[in-house]
């Protein structure tokens, strides 16, 4: 065998996502990271909103005006959907941590359940906002 002189040995890599057929479990897994990152971006708004409530009444009014525009509402809707999807899939992960639910058909079903419950909870939240208003 030829001795390896590199500091890091060249090991074979697993195939990348490009060659796989799209599957629901894979999509929900990617979605979990994407929604997580989107929520991190959303925390900047949350921090700004809290900061304004504490230090600047003018800023607070301004932020609320911006959130009340169509773009603002779309962003809030998007963040709420991202939150509930991440929330439901997080519970799926915690369930996996107990060592159950790894069978292919179970994982498929729970992935669909995440999409279903995430969407339903989002709609219930916005229904509550509209009805109470």
């Amino acid at each position: 065998m030829k001795p390896n002189t590199d500091s890091k040995p060249q090991r074979p890599l697993s195939p990348h996502i490009g060659i796989y057929k799209w599957q629901i479990t894979m999509m929900v897994s990617i979605l979990h990271r994407a929604t997580g990152l989107a929520l991190v971006a959303g925390t900047v708004l949350l921090v700004g909103w809290l900061w304004a409530a504490a230090y600047s009444a003018d800023c607070f009014i301004h932020i609320n005006h911006l959130l009340n525009t169509i773009v603002g509402r779309l962003l809030l809707f998007g963040w709420s959907l991202a939150f509930y999807l991440h929330f439901c899939n997080g519970i799926r992960h915690l369930f996996w941590d107990t060592g159950r639910g790894f069978e292919k058909h179970t994982a498929d079903k729970t992935a669909w359940a995440v999409l279903l419950f995430g969407s339903v909870l989002t709609l219930i939240t916005w229904y509550a906002v509209l009805v109470l208003r």
Binding site: G36, W51, A54, A57, I61, N64, L132
Partner: protein
């Protein structure tokens, strides 16, 4: 006598092994996730009530309560710790250039701690206004 190692001398020189932080990362992520299940639902119901008339005194009145202010601080700490851990994994997975990776990890740590501190300070400030 020195204990015999199963690793070759080359392997010992090359790798220091794991950083031994994996378990605390795993547990921290899970515990903050569990804690945030009730806290986020509580926060959203509170936000819906505030959204009905989003005025600053409504927020101040809400955080004047010690329970509300404490729960929100608890949520913010769990949230930014959870966010730091999550973003860290993404950085470690996708950034392979080591100096860029270290810079990104450092930026992640500073950003999440900073956002957490600023938000917690804001909550405490609002809460204290009503005690003076």
């Amino acid at each position: 006598m020195k204990k015999e190692s199963m690793q070759s001398t080359l392997k010992i020189v090359r790798g220091l092994g794991s950083a031994r932080e994996g378990t605390s990362h795993f547990i921290g992520q899970r515990v903050t996730a569990l804690v945030m299940i009730p806290l986020t639902l509580w926060f959203i119901t509170s936000l819906i009530r505030i959204a009905l008339s989003p005025e600053i005194h409504i927020v101040h009145h809400w955080l004047a309560s010690g329970i509300n202010a404490s729960l929100l601080v608890f949520l913010l700490v769990a949230l930014f710790y959870h966010a730091k851990l999550g973003v860290q994994v993404i950085i470690e997975d996708y950034i392979h250039c080591s100096c860029l990776k270290i810079a990104a990890l450092l930026a992640n740590f500073l950003a999440m701690s900073g956002l957490g501190l600023v938000s917690v300070l804001a909550v405490i400030k609002i809460h204290l206004i009503h005690l003076v």
